[in-house]
């Protein structure tokens, strides 16, 4: 059970918190972390927009109105804007989100986005389980020690000693 590091990105894509807990990943310069946060923010939005759409009941429309079957198969013709109801997502009922977890040979990146758009990026060991508990605890600590801090300015870098202390203490207690 290894948590490498935590990154918090505000809703505009700016880096507001970065901390390393255990060595394992390469160290980057502050500038590189800012670039990484911005890049991830953009990629996160793109991954949501490339969600595959599945045609719904294509066979029934072709059966009832034979003329409509020619429309999608004609290349080059600008197809009329189809109403949204002709598509469904692979997991209907679940809102489409951006990237939630990414796996590589060396680490796993889990992204949790709050309702207000703040993103928590947690870098862990690929074998680690129960990442959800860790993330929700981090969110809880963030709410308690950052958001309830009267001196914290929204969307600005997090410099709250109590948050650091409790975060470190809790993660150390788990290992």
């Amino acid at each position: 059970m290894t948590v490498f590091s935590l990154i918090i990105i505000n809703k505009a894509g700016g880096l507001i918190y970065q901390r390393e807990f255990q060595p394992g990943l390469r160290k980057l310069s502050t500038n590189d972390y800012l670039v990484l946060a911005g890049t991830f923010h953009g990629v996160h939005a793109i991954t949501r927009s490339i969600t595959p759409k599945l045609p719904v009941a294509a066979a029934t429309t072709t059966a009832s109105t034979p003329t409509s079957s020619n429309v999608p198969s004609t290349p080059g013709t600008p197809t009329p804007i189809t109403p949204a109801s002709t598509h469904s997502f692979p997991n209907p009922g679940v809102p489409a989100t951006g990237l939630e977890s990414l796996e590589t040979d060396k680490f796993r990146l889990t992204c949790f986005q709050t309702l207000t758009g703040t993103k928590f990026l947690l870098f862990t060991d690929p074998m680690m389980t129960s990442i959800d508990t860790v993330i929700s605890k981090i969110y809880e600590l963030y709410s308690d020690y950052v958001m309830k801090n009267p001196f914290y300015q929204l969307e600005m870098p997090v410099r709250c000693e109590a948050f650091d202390r409790h975060l470190m203490g809790w993660l150390r207690g788990r290992t």
Partner: protein, 160 residues
């Protein structure tokens, strides 16, 4: 920073059998295999959208790969990412050909499958074909019947 040439040389879309998306409530006549096979690869989307999708996917994969290399070292590469709706599998050959596969969220790791597609299908039928172009300017891409047929078989028989 200059980007390497990005050309989508092959794309193919599989539409799931109607029973798997809409459940048993759908009409039985929609099960006919002809609808499933005769579908153009871009069904439900105009050709322009799939071209844009290919570019977006390239951009995503490229950024993520660079991000992962920065953090994990030069020999690290990302294998897959998951959203609430789909999973993207990624395999890059030593010659920087990128194989990307999008599946539903429940599917297991496709790394071996993508590797097999590269070794057993792409190398066999496309690379070893003396008539196939090395570069693909203009976007004709992999226009190879044997490759497409065997890929179709591989995906429908082995993967599903």
């Amino acid at each position: 920073m200059s980007l390497p040439p990005a050309e989508c040389i092959y794309k193919r879309r599989w539409v799931p059998r109607p029973s798997s998306i809409t459940g048993k409530s759908s009409r039985p006549n929609s099960e006919t295999s002809t609808t499933a096979n005769a579908l153009p690869p871009v069904l439900g989307q105009s050709a322009r959208t799939t071209d844009d999708d290919a570019k977006l996917i390239f951009g995503t994969v490229f950024s993520l790969r660079n991000m992962v290399r920065k953090l994990g070292g030069e020999d690290d590469s990302f294998v897959t990412y998951r959203t609430s709706q789909y999973k993207l599998h990624y395999y890059e050959t030593p010659t920087n050909i990128k194989f990307v596969m999008l599946t539903d969220t429940k599917s297991p790791s496709m790394r071996v499958a993508l590797q097999q597609i590269y070794i057993n299908l792409y190398v066999e039928y496309v690379v070893k074909n003396p008539l196939s172009p090395v570069e693909h300017p203009g976007g004709v891409g992999v226009n190879n019947e044997l490759f497409e047929e065997s890929l179709e078989q591989f995906v429908t028989r082995v993967l599903s």
